[in-house]
Structure formats: structure tokens, C-alpha cells
């Protein structure tokens, strides 16, 4: 009986197509990726079945966390500088060029305007360590609405239209704070809001 010889093939295989594909994907992800901006506050948004996406740009994000703190964020860098000067002028606070630059890179913040220069001149690590008290939004010291109004004005000047207002509330945030924010905006005739939520699969409505 002849011995059955296993057919010896070289164990090397041509990896070229795989490498091609891998690099194609790497390139794709490298070009499309946009790192999620670091948020000043952790907000766990509730979910809803709404499928409307947040617009890509010109968004003012108002975050409300579970400790009733209000944070303000704006995504366009250019009107943000304008905004900082406007609000600074209103409260008699001036900012250096370096502080303004840091501000334009900040995704959101929650400190009163008086503490803002000090907050901005710290470095990233220190800034993260600071517990931000939130922007004052009560009737005596309502800086929050000034930020929004001036941001709208700056956005209108820059792009010819006001920015979208997105409210990002934590699931455990209390209703009075959110309602207060809405009320304040309504006082300024802003009646259209977008509540940021997570996507949840749509249930079959029993019709």
C-alpha cells in the first residue's frame, strides 16, 4: 500500500487583499472620525423614540445635571469669541487673548462669569478637577439668559440665523430646574427647543 502523503502546501498565505482592506478601513475611520468633545458634566440623557437627529452645527447646548446645575455650551468657535466679549462687557469682566482661545475650545462650562477668567487660565487638568457650580439662573443673578441671548445675537450676526437650542437634561434632573430653563427662554421669546435624548426602539403603537 502506498503511503498517503499529505500534500504539503506552504503555510504562508497572501495577505495583500486583507491588508488592502484593513488600510482602507483605517483611512476611512481616520478621516471620518471626530472625537467626542469632552463634556464638562456627565449627563445621562433619557431615551425617547424620536428619530430626529441633532443638527451638525450651530447648536447651543444647555445641560442640566442632577444637582440642578446649568451648563452652557456652544459649538461654533467664531461667534463664541464674540459672545465672550459681549457677556464680558456686560458684567465688566475682561479676558485675555489666551483665555478667549481656551474658551473657544471649551465644549461647555458652568461657572459664573466673574470666576470665568480664573477658570480659563488654569490648565486642562486643573480645570477638570474643579467642581463647577453651574451658571447662575435665578431671578437675582440671571447670567444664564444673558449667555443665551448674546449667543443668539452673535450667531445671528455670524450666520444670519439663530442657533438651535438643545436642552440636555439628565434623566434624574428635577423638573423645576428644567422648567425654569424653559420658562427663562420663553421670556425671551424662544419657544422652540430640542430635548436631547437617546434613541429607543419604537414600540408598536396599539392602533
Amino acid at each position: 500500500m502506498p503511503k498517503v502523503k499529505p500534500h504539503r502546501t506552504s503555510p504562508s498565505l497572501d495577505m495583500t487583499p486583507m491588508v488592502d482592506l484593513a488600510f482602507l478601513l483605517v483611512t476611512f475611520f481616520m478621516l471620518t472620525t471626530k472625537f467626542a468633545p469632552e463634556e464638562a458634566v456627565v449627563v445621562d440623557t433619557p431615551s425617547s423614540t424620536s428619530e430626529i437627529r441633532l443638527p451638525e452645527s450651530h447648536v447651543i447646548t444647555i445641560s442640566v445635571d442632577k444637582d440642578k446645575r446649568v451648563f452652557f455650551g456652544m459649538d461654533d468657535a467664531k461667534p463664541k469669541l464674540d459672545l465672550l466679549t459681549r457677556v464680558g462687557a456686560k458684567y465688566g469682566v475682561s479676558f485675555t487673548a489666551a483665555q478667549a482661545k481656551t474658551f473657544s475650545n471649551l465644549s461647555s462650562f458652568g461657572v459664573p462669569v466673574q470666576q470665568l477668567p480664573d477658570f480659563l487660565s488654569r490648565d486642562n487638568e486643573q480645570r477638570k478637577a474643579i467642581k463647577q457650580p453651574g451658571i447662575p439662573a435665578d431671578s437675582l443673578n440671571n447670567q444664564f439668559i444673558d449667555w443665551v441671548v448674546e449667543a443668539q445675537a452673535a450667531s445671528r450676526k455670524e450666520f444670519g440665523k439663530p442657533a438651535y437650542i438643545a436642552i440636555k437634561g439628565d434623566g434624574n434632573a428635577d423638573v423645576p430646574t428644567v422648567k425654569k430653563v424653559i420658562q427663562l427662554l420663553q421670556d425671551k421669546n424662544i419657544n422652540r427647543f430640542n430635548l436631547i435624548t437617546d434613541l429607543e426602539s419604537k414600540p408598536v403603537a396599539g392602533k
Binding site: 506552504s10 503555510p11 504562508s12 498565505l13 495577505m15 495583500t16 486583507m18 491588508v19 484593513a22 488600510f23 478601513l25 483605517v26 475611520f29 481616520m30 471620518t32 472620525t33 471626530k34 472625537f35 467626542a36 440623557t45 433619557p46 431615551s47 425617547s48 423614540t49 424620536s50 428619530e51 430626529i52 437627529r53 441633532l54 443638527p55 451638525e56 442640566v64 438643545a166 437634561g169 434623566g171 434624574n172 434632573a173 428635577d174 423638573v175 423645576p176 428644567v178 422648567k179 424653559i182 420663553q186 421669546n189 419657544n191 422652540r192 427647543f193 430640542n194 430635548l195 436631547i196 435624548t197 437617546d198 434613541l199 429607543e200 419604537k202 414600540p203 403603537a205 396599539g206 392602533k207
Partner: protein
């Protein structure tokens, strides 16, 4: 390693030949790197923008008299209580009328069913949403979401009144 270098020549024959180099390169480290990067970018990329729920509030009337009154027969009030509780009653609360408060739930068989039933009975129904101060934002989003799911167009987010709070308290639910 994925590739094993093969013996190039068996060494027989006296003629010295220029050694033929294999044209194959070991691509394994490169592939390793490529996949490492691939994984990294795939995991860090934020593809989807968050979704938003649109909420349009009514424009504040300049004159309080312009505010529209709703008929008690068309009103359906949902109260959002603390600890994720939810109650509803038909009609409006008045000094002499005490509507019956019913406890419900956020699930599909709870408030959604009731909303659909009410609208079937009366297409004109207006839902008044009143969150108590101790309810959380998630409840508010949930109930607004129910409005979208049930396709209820007429609803309003209303401040809670003292009478409503008392109604919850006295009902003992």
C-alpha cells in the same frame, strides 16, 4: 509567524548563482498595526449624533385674556408624581368637582392605552401634562414621548396647581 522561510537552494551543483531573494515580505507586523488602528478608530468614532425630541411651547400671549380656555369635556389631565408614579383624571379640576384620580404606569399597557382610548372616544381631547416638582426629567421626556407614540397632537405642559397636589395626597395612591 505566518510565513516560514523556505530553503532557497538545495545546494547541489557547483555553479554559484546569485541568491534569489524572495519577493515576499512578512506583512504580519503591518497587519497587526493596521488592525490595531482600525479597532481604535472604530471604537472611538462617534458616528451618530444624538437624537432630539422637538418641543414647541406656545408663544406667551401678551394679554392673559387671549389665552384659550379648554372645555372640561375635552380635557384629560396626566399628573406625573414622584418616584415614577403617574396618575390621570378626566375633565378639569374645579372647586366643586373632584374628578376621580386613577393610577397608571409608563408601560405600553398603562398610560398609552388610556390615551388611545380617550382619543378614540373623543378626537378633540387635549392632554394636560402636569409634572409635580419632585418628578424627574425622565418622566417628563417619557410622557412627551408617549404623545409622539400615540400621535397625540394637542397637549400642553402645564404647571401643577395646589389643588392637583392635594388631589394626589388625598387619593392615597
Amino acid at each position: 509567524m505566518a510565513e516560514i522561510q523556505q530553503q532557497a537552494d538545495s545546494g547541489k551543483g557547483g555553479k554559484k548563482r546569485a541568491k534569489k531573494m524572495s519577493t515576499k515580505i512578512d506583512m504580519t507586523p503591518m497587519v497587526d498595526l493596521a488592525f490595531l488602528l482600525l479597532t481604535f478608530f472604530m471604537l472611538t468614532t462617534t458616528f451618530s449624533k444624538p437624537t432630539v425630541m422637538q418641543l414647541n411651547m406656545p408663544v406667551k400671549p401678551k394679554d392673559p385674556k387671549e389665552q384659550s380656555e379648554i372645555k372640561a369635556s375635552n380635557a384629560f389631565t396626566v399628573l406625573l408624581g414622584e418616584n415614577n408614579k403617574i396618575f390621570y383624571y378626566d375633565g378639569l379640576l374645579a372647586d366643586n368637582v373632584k374628578p376621580e384620580l386613577v393610577a397608571s404606569s409608563y408601560g405600553a399597557d398603562g398610560i398609552r392605552k388610556t390615551l388611545l382610548q380617550r382619543r378614540q372616544a373623543n378626537p378633540e381631547v387635549v392632554v394636560l401634562i402636569k409634572p409635580v416638582d419632585k418628578s424627574n426629567y425622565k418622566n417628563m421626556v417619557d410622557i412627551l414621548d408617549e404623545m409622539n407614540i400615540t400621535d397625540q397632537k394637542k397637549y400642553a405642559l402645564v404647571d401643577i396647581s395646589k389643588a392637583d397636589e392635594d388631589l394626589i395626597k388625598t387619593s392615597g395612591l
